[in-house]
Symmetry: C2
Subunit: 216 residues, 2 copies
DNA sequence: GTCTATAATCGGATAGAC
DNA sequence: GTCTATCCGATTATAGAC
């Protein structure tokens, strides 16, 4: 009937970490929510830190596999010399996140905030964990964007990818706030709608010619 | 010689909150860094929570005053019917942040991470504190952007402002990470350089025509 | 206003019975 | 695998001397 202890802990921890951050949640809060015993956390995971790693790994690994698969897919559809539309590269990176975010089976909306949290948490633990998981993905997507935007310098591409991540992370973390601020006007859409909205916004920015300053 | 206790606490708290988040820092760590006694925190501020509020207020109030002043300034320079260049509105919002960020007297680089933290911290405390401080600013800037981009719908403007905040917050919080990832290629510039970079990127995105979806 | 001392609680982790 | 009971350090907060 009930899911097994190990998974109940993972689910509760994910929810709570997403809501309050790593340092903001105690193991005791987690086991209370999970309806399990305190000692079981140390039995199944070795420590609070290892539990956090498990929480991240469960979502991040399939997510990044999806991203890389989408990129493989895109690159297969292109001839050697063609430059991919930047929208497609953006979509390969962003669509898997939004799809996961609406998949209740695999974490649903909770996962959105967890991703946002990963970029936001200031502790070394989370930052290193994240860097580790993302290096391969970052490398592959850097090359894809460099190919899609051949007129941009290396430095400029890095900066723009960085800004892209900022938009994604903020959307993951706080788009419910926008709903409030806008008085309900802005609602979260499904994965397709959200992806299209963000891709459209970012594509225009990514395509901007380099280095022209405008004065009013 | 030494600054007074109250301020020493505030300075230390700001630094530590910026580095590790609210829950990640204990009062004992703060007083150790400040070189003051534990009890003095409770004397000068009533609790850890009140201390956090004081930390935010010290920076946020002048920051938002500067933003509104920059906007006033811009609007004075325009005739009634003119639409301001979106770059100028972006600059009014963003330049004060980057200027504060390089002003050692008023918090310096520490302040950057503190701002990023505000948007990132998931606890209700920080979020409510922030919403409270930002409502007037949000209202004023919404109107300015609506004027600068008259062809966009209300909903679209809200979304784009939201994405803009994401870029800003991420830059505040994590641009040191970019320096690492890029192998030192991307360095943090001074306020002018950073503002120009972000404004340039965002202006292109803000100006994108509404609702056209692109397929590859 | 600043200190010492301490209260009262909460934190992660573990031992050992079942 | 799961539980109770407990260790023990850290935490916020306060009382009361100076």
């Amino acid at each position: 009937m009930a899911k097994d202890t190990k998974q109940r802990i993972l689910d509760a921890a994910e929810r709570l970490f997403a809501e309050r951050g790593y340092a903001g949640v105690s193991l005791r809060t987690i086991v209370a929510k999970a309806g399990v015993n305190l000692a079981s956390v140390h039995y199944h995971y070795r420590s609070k830190e290892e539990l956090l790693k498990a929480v991240f790994a469960r979502r991040l690994e399939p997510l990044n596999r999806e991203r890389l698969a989408a990129l493989d897919d895109l690159e297969l559809r292109l001839r050697e010399e063609q430059t991919p539309p930047v929208e497609c590269v953006l979509e390969a990176f962003l669509a898997p996140v939004f799809r996961l975010a609406e998949d209740e089976e695999r974490g649903g909306p909770v996962f959105m905030r967890l991703v946002g949290l990963m970029y936001g948490e200031s502790g070394d633990l989370v930052r290193m964990l994240f860097m580790q998981q993302m290096t391969e993905v970052a490398e592959r997507f850097y090359r894809a964007f460099a190919r899609a935007l051949p007129e941009l310098s290396r430095e400029e591409i890095y900066w723009r990818l960085f800004f892209m991540v900022g938009v994604m992370a903020h959307t993951m973390r706080a788009s419910d706030q926008l709903q409030l601020i806008s008085g309900g006007l802005c609602k979260l859409g499904n994965a397709e709608v959200m992806t299209a909205r963000v891709v459209h916004f970012l594509a225009a920015a990514m395509r901007a010619p380099e280095g022209c300053e405008v004065r009013g």
